[in-house]
């Protein structure tokens, strides 16, 4: 276990540093363990809200073509509009 920690610390550039105490090493070990296995990928949450625009593919051209027809449909079905 101690050996493993040292190896992990070595990979993360922490070994041999006299300033790093045993306790700090113990705290850093789980973090570095993940880094060793996965290769240090950090994912940050975006600071802006994610807006999903579902109707982005509908063009104005199509809407204008359908407008008259859709207007008639609304007038022909007053019970559901």
């Amino acid at each position: 276990m101690r050996q493993a920690r040292q190896i992990v610390a070595a990979r993360c550039g922490g070994t041999g540093q006299r300033g790093v105490t045993g306790r700090m090493l113990a705290l850093l070990t789980p973090l570095c363990g993940a880094a060793v296995l996965g290769g240090c990928i950090s994912i940050n949450a975006p600071d802006k809200p994610i807006v999903i625009e579902l109707n982005i593919n509908i063009t104005q051209e199509v809407i204008y073509r359908l407008a008259e027809d859709a207007g008639n449909t609304i007038e022909d079905n007053p019970d559901i509009f």
Binding site: I58, A67, D69, A70, T73, N77, P78
Partner: protein, 136 residues
Amino acid sequence: MKQTAITKKISARALAAVGAAAVLASAFGSPALAQRDPAYAQARAQGKVGEKMDGYLGIVGSGDAQLRSLVDDINIKRRAVYADKAKAANATLEEYAFTAGCLAISRTEPGEKYQAPSGDWKTRTSSAPERDPRCP
């Protein structure tokens, strides 16, 4: 004396014609032009339901089971109509529904709710509603 008789005759004929027209109108006009269900009309007026941008009806706020069932029922019917008409017009269901949504929002009356491009519910005022820039 003679004149009054003629007048009476004409008025009787006119009355009969009006009566016949009324019978015809009620016979042909009722199924296609059925009006909104009173519960639906009331929910609209009270702002409990609103017109969404996608062409369907939405519930404003929490809503109860009864209102959800009313809205679902209308949306299922709307979807069926959109699907038919979209096919006939060589468009997708979403395109047709979105176009109808633009128009349904335009036709809301002051006090009724509609969905603005931001996604928020707005109350229709006497001025034009906030709509998607692509709307006709």
